[in-house]
Symmetry: C2
Subunit: 432 residues, 2 copies
């Protein structure tokens, strides 16, 4: 890790920079796949599954039987762990359901306004494949989708070389009440979500992690007016710690982040040079025992350890970096946490490793990366809803505000807007 | 308007289609302006303001003096109307501030999670120019931004031929406590928002209506990871009415929508052929007296009047169309409104013309168009906020869920994630 001491503010822009993540060069590939899926539907999906995943499939949907059968193939211990995670994620996300909805507000006498949140009917969830499928992302996306009331929850995930999906993925889909699961991956999966084919229904919003191809395809969905959960980037952690932090723990959290990929971002910010030194030593001690050390060694090299004399500078730096994950281990961490303005998810104290949030504390692990925590939220129940506003005016209500609306409409040169009010007021004056 | 009777469901896709709104052909122009603003900052803005707006400006920011001076130049009647609108918009949007935030949830013993909403610090609001500036959009965007707690609210609006902005626009900015106002329009304004120049600060999210150039530029902001309020399209209304509706009123609402532009969408859906006939006659009667009849005649030609025998089919059609504005005037409109699943804003009853929502009922007029009400919300206070989740585990809390997290992490092949838990549990077991 690279060391910095009291970096001046004008150096921060360099220190908060992430590696460029450009999808422009994938644009043509993505466009081609989307055009083909639009034109040839399933046939295009078959073609690209063969081309990109090296599997020949003619039927993509996983049958109810196969999904049911997955139950026996997952170990009881793992089922128990998934169940605990499901319980906690459900508890926290249920608390996001807002009873305040639909409260009617009388803005003027006889003018009632209210807002209702309604579920997005059909949502697509993409789950990457590979040796270890991220079934935890199903928990993080299907649970809030169900709580929101989505009618149809559909998963696409790339088949392995044998043309199947892992049992734990299918089992998790089952207990999360996912409606349909398709063995489709990459760009063609996102295209199927956005356009729909003979087998795959077109969805209204697309969620889930993925590699650069999936990310580029999700961006391309904008052209189909289909929103996505978040702009994706490499995962990252910033740890803000002082002498109250246990160096071994801090090191293990940096390494947990570093194992995600060679482009993972790890940053340690501290007011204690002693802690920084101890942590750097611990990092070296722990690496050898870790199975993904080959990845870790690459990513940790680009890590940064930054010493600030003043804790408020350290906090300002963290807010400027706007980390996806922020681990906070300081004397008065509650006080410090009140000053956090930009972050995806915050982990407070020595016993709150980031990995608990990835799986089972209850918070969502679908979080803004690449500094976008400045303006984006992680996934919540509201990510699966949209709101509708309502208003109803009594005759009295229109008499109250109508004359003002007439003036405002005229001032904007819209006299048909004015007329819609005038014609009603005229009739009311007659009847009064 | 074109008439349809009981159109079969398989015809609906044709009937709910909007005119294609493609920005792809503007892509090169937009890209050029953004690249220039990135490279030359203010100089590029000066160049394009000259080129596109035909005005030579070297200073873009409107001075506090000029803004203050606008106050005397707006009529007391208009000020009074703006003040009423401001009051109602504030009342309704304040009700969206959710006291439930920050409630801590104990998902497992010793595991506390909570969610905090924080304001997006800097937001940009674009206000189109032209003969009649849409100052109402300032009310609709600056008021919720202030309520959300945004630190810096910045307006860009194109200067007129004399290089100034209208007094009512400046006055409205002033009473809405907008921080800075710039005389910049079109693509170069959106580029300045997204990139920042020597004068214009880079913002974190961009809001506001605009022509196709502004829309294309707002879409392009995705490349800078800057979100926008909504994908824009032509404005539209669907009126769902039966014999309980007053034909004159319905006609006036169709015409109010039609005056927006030649591409405005107006649809009348009814279970009463008699009402449809009366409304169509009324439309012809009212047009001649309207100042924007030249626009209205063009857009109304593409309007649709659709008769359904069954009211539930009419409702299903409305949900399939997902109108920006839905006017509901039926016998049991409260009951019908419960079946509305997709719409931007709903106006219930004979005395709730759509124009009250454009200005003064209190609801927001920045709404999803082009069918995107299926998955997008209109602007709310939350559009100016993002959420951060927090969690803190006591030693007991980690003992509770740690062993499960270890299993889940291993199942995903992430043993450094497991290790971050194990290393803590080991230490706790020692100390226990």
């Amino acid at each position: 890790m690279k060391l910095y001491e009291n970096p001046p503010v004008d150096l921060w822009n360099k220190l908060i920079k992430r590696p460029l993540f450009n999808c422009e060069d994938l644009h043509d590939t993505v466009q081609k796949v989307f055009t083909d899926v639009e034109q040839f539907g399933n046939q295009a999906v078959i073609k690209y599954t063969n081309k990109f995943d090296g599997v020949q499939l003619n039927e993509f949907e996983v049958s109810k039987e196969v999904i049911r059968a997955s139950e026996e193939k997952v170990s009881p211990q793992l089922k128990q762990a998934i169940s605990l995670a499901k319980t906690n994620i459900t508890k926290f996300h249920r608390s996001q359901l807002n009873e305040n909805d639909d409260q009617k507000v009388e803005t003027s006498i006889g003018v009632k306004c209210w807002l209702e949140k309604h579920p997005i009917e059909k949502v697509g969830i993409y789950i990457p494949g590979g040796t270890a499928p991220l079934f935890s992302s199903i928990l993080m996306l299907a649970i809030p989708a169900k709580l929101a009331g989505c009618k149809e929850i559909i998963i696409c995930s790339p088949p392995n070389k044998d043309g199947v999906l892992s049992d734990v993925l299918l089992y998790t889909s089952k207990i999360c009440k996912v409606d349909r699961v398709f063995k489709i991956g990459g760009i063609q999966a996102i295209a199927a979500f956005g356009i729909g084919t003979e087998s795959v229904p077109k969805v209204h919003k697309v969620f889930g992690p993925g590699n650069q191809y999936v990310t580029a395809a999700k961006q391309y969905l904008q052209n189909y007016q289909i929103p996505i959960d978040l702009p994706a980037g490499p995962s990252e952690v910033l740890i803000l710690a002082d002498d109250s932090a246990t160096p071994e723990f801090v090191a293990s959290d940096l390494l947990a982040q570093a194992e995600h990929g060679t482009d993972s971002q790890v940053i340690l910010v501290s007011t204690s040079k002693e802690l920084i030194n101890k942590v750097l030593k611990e990092v070296e001690l722990q690496i050898p025992s870790l199975s993904r050390k080959h990845i870790i060694k690459k990513s940790i090299k680009f890590g940064r350890a930054i010493w600030f004399e003043d804790v408020n500078q350290a906090i300002d730096f963290s807010n400027a970096y706007a980390p996806e994950h922020l681990i906070l281990v300081t004397q008065n961490s509650d006080e410090v946490s009140l000053k956090i303005k930009n972050a995806g998810s915050v982990f407070i104290g020595n016993y709150s490793p980031e990995s608990v949030g990835d799986y089972a504390s209850g918070t969502n692990h679908t979080l803004p990366t690449n500094g976008s925590a400045v303006q984006y939220s992680g996934v919540t129940v509201d990510s699966f809803k949209k709101s509708i506003t309502f208003q109803t005016l009594s005759p009295m209500g229109l008499v109250e505000i109508g004359p003002y609306v007439e003036k405002l409409a005229l001032a904007e040169g819209l006299d048909a807007h004015k007329n819609a009010v005038s014609i009603r007021l005229k009739q009311l004056n007659k009847t009064i």
